[in-house]
């Protein structure tokens, strides 16, 4: 095993990188307010008449009379304390609004993630192990098709068939209690996952094929190691790195696609809140959700990075040299 110093260096470098990225991202999101046409205060109120208290709290939160950098630091310290400000349309704490809707979105994400992992990986593995045969061609044709089906089309078609025509699933709503919620979220999760199933299975298939062609796989075979063992211990194991990396990048798309799916199914989650807020120019909410999505993406990828050395010991070898 690599010395502790090396591991610490590796982890430290990644965590530092993530901190810089998050800081820069938060700055960009805050500064975007100034890219909007007009005075920030006018933009924020959009001609609405706010109560004097609300107006005061708005000026206070954004510190609109302070120098720019002070405004940013003030806002940032609020965010770090869990204070995302006040929503214009709901006249409520953004944090409270988001908290109320997080459950639906998280359940949806978890269900989609399970579908993507199980179906995507399986299809990719089956395809690669049968390269050139009928099963592989089927996987390729299916994934070519699914990768082109946008989540809102999938949503509409699933509603049309399974909710309207067959009546197996509800058309709208998030459900109450865990089981009911899962029942309500089944179609949305399927709609959300289709494209990603295709992408993950593509990546899995090509990573597996690449590993299958390696000489050490032939060496293992030449030594009488059974095929299933070779596939498990050398091919799949070695292919995990690239699969994980691509999956990490896909997380960004998944988070944003959930906005579409939630809108299509009338679910009350983070995504649909985002769209509503755009419609009402509710900047504090848009700002908060943007930051959460970016943060989630960055953290998931940090996790992927931290897992890499466990898969490929050479990852740390590069670090020792720095």
């Amino acid at each position: 095993m690599a010395p502790a110093v090396t591991i610490l260096k590796y982890v430290g470098r990644r965590v530092l990188g993530v901190a810089i990225t998050l800081l820069a991202a938060s700055f960009l999101i805050f500064a975007s307010l100034y890219a909007a046409p007009g005075d920030p205060a006018d933009f924020l109120t959009q001609g609405r008449t706010l109560s004097p208290e609300a107006m005061a709290s708005l000026r206070e939160q954004y510190g609109l009379d302070d120098p720019f950098l002070v405004q940013y630091l003030h806002w940032l310290s609020g965010v770090l304390h869990g204070d995302f400000g006040t929503s214009f349309q709901f006249r409520d704490d953004v944090t409270t609004l988001i908290g109320a809707r997080l459950g639906t979105t998280l359940t949806l994400m978890v269900m989609a993630a399970v579908l993507i992992t199980v179906v995507g990986l399986t299809a990719g593995i089956v395809g690669s192990l049968n390269a050139g045969r009928a099963a592989d061609r089927l996987v390729l044709v299916m994934t070519t098709f699914l990768a082109a089906v946008p989540s809102f089309v999938a949503a509409i078609l699933l509603i049309s068939v399974f909710a309207v025509r067959l009546g197996w699933f509800p058309t709208f709503g998030g459900g109450e209690g865990l089981l009911d919620r899962i029942y309500h979220l089944t179609l949305p999760a399927v709609a959300l996952s289709l494209t990603f199933v295709a992408l993950v299975s593509r990546v899995t298939r090509s990573a597996m094929l690449e590993e299958l062609g390696r000489e050490h796989v032939e060496v293992a075979t030449s030594r009488g190691v059974p095929r299933s063992t070779v596939v498990r211990r050398h091919v799949l194991r070695n292919a995990l790195g690239p699969i994980l990396t691509v999956s990490g990048i896909l997380v960004a798309g998944l988070l944003v696609s959930s906005a579409i799916v939630e809108s299509a199914f009338g679910l009350s989650g983070l995504g649909s809140l985002l769209i509503q807020s755009v419609d009402k120019s509710d900047f504090p909410v848009v700002q908060a959700i943007t930051l959460i999505v970016v943060g989630a993406f960055v953290l998931v990828n940090l996790l992927v990075d931290l897992l890499q050395p466990l898969i490929d010991p050479r990852t740390l070898a590069g670090e020792a040299g720095r």
């Binding site: 390696r214 050490h216 032939e218 060496v219 293992a220 009488g224 095929r227 070898a317």
Partner: protein, 326 residues
């Protein structure tokens, strides 16, 4: 003489869609216990494919004909299970590039003991580990205990090739196939690896097939040497005879092309042209278009057979016609 460990007779291998000519065109080859047989030739001659075919490792889509017997088992028709047992117990292979041939994500110890743990059920893991330690020592690695826990990237190419050899010997094979085992290494490392291989071969009484493109190396390592060109064995003889009096123009050409350390050469006499393309499939002798002694009208229309002359053989119409004439 006992039955050979490896016996290939009239082996053909075709790759439709990729090559127009057969990759192997009627290869005959025997390796007996305690014997080191060399296989030399340039790239594309079919040396590596021959060794892989001996273990039943044929490329997907390949059409194979002929008979390949390893230690009495017919490799080409053996069921998967029998083949697996043969690979883990009777025959093993050392590959050219140890960096590519050992899984970079697993420990050296895992590479060594894997076959024992997964190929044969119920094998004692501790016994496998003990044997791995012994073998690492036998191939001259300084810290066997530590190496077992290391990853491939922590070892040099020469050390890894020793690991590869130790891995091949884990199942105590009777037949060892070495596919250019030193080509990726420096000469000083090559010398060490070759002497390790020679010592182990003698100690264990293994039969060894030694593939190389280096004629001098083949001459120094092997008892008998087969020369391959375009998928055929064009000549074979004892190492000494082959280098002293090559009978096939290709063998002679190879020797004349090799710069020497001993003799001052005014000018090398290379073979003209380039090795036969996979897309070409000439009617006559595969070497005819490069041969400086080609007999027009004969060599380009007639495929020579491998004809024995005493304990050596060659595949050249020149030698056969002079024999008929004389």
């Amino acid at each position: 003489m006992s039955t050979p460990l490896l016996q290939m007779s009239d082996v053909w291998l075709r790759l439709p869609g990729i090559a127009n000519r057969p990759i192997l065109a009627g290869v005959d080859l025997e390796v007996a216990a305690g014997e080191v047989v060399g296989l030399v030739g340039e790239s594309g001659s079919g040396k590596s494919v021959t060794a892989r075919t001996a273990l039943g490792l044929v490329p997907r889509g390949a059409q194979v004909e002929g008979r390949v017997l390893v230690d009495g088992t017919d490799v080409l028709s053996a069921p998967a299970d029998r083949l697996r047992r043969l690979r883990s117990e009777s025959a093993a292979m050392v590959f050219q590039d140890p960096r590519a041939g050992i899984n970079p994500m697993r420990r050296i110890g895992d590479h060594l003991t894997e076959a024992a743990r997964f190929a044969k059920r119920g094998e004692d893991v501790r016994a496998a580990r003990k044997r791995a330690l012994d073998l690492l020592e036998a191939v001259g690695l300084p810290h066997p205990e530590r190496h077992l826990k290391q990853f491939p990237h922590e070892l040099s190419g020469g050390m890894l090739q020793r690991v590869m050899i130790a891995g091949a010997l884990m199942g105590s094979p009777k037949l060892l196939l070495c596919d250019e085992p030193t080509t990726a290494l420096d000469v000083t490392t090559q010398k060490e690896i070759v002497s390790i291989l020679a010592r182990l071969q003698q100690d264990e009484g293994m039969g060894m097939l030694f593939i190389t493109h280096d004629l001098d190396l083949a001459a120094s390592v092997c008892d008998r040497v087969h020369v391959m060109y375009a998928g055929q064995v064009v000549e074979h003889a004892s190492a000494k005879e082959l280098f002293a009096s090559p009978q096939h123009p290709y063998t002679a050409g190879l020797l004349a092309s090799t710069p020497s350390l001993e003799v001052v050469q005014e000018r090398l006499r290379p073979i003209a042209g380039t090795p036969l393309s996979l897309l070409a499939d000439p009617l006559g002798c595969t070497f005819a278009e490069r041969c400086d002694r080609v007999m027009e009208g004969l060599c380009t229309t007639q495929r020579p057979e491998l004809v024995e002359h005493g304990d050596r053989a060659d595949r050249c119409l020149l030698n056969q016609t002079t024999e008929v004439a004389g």
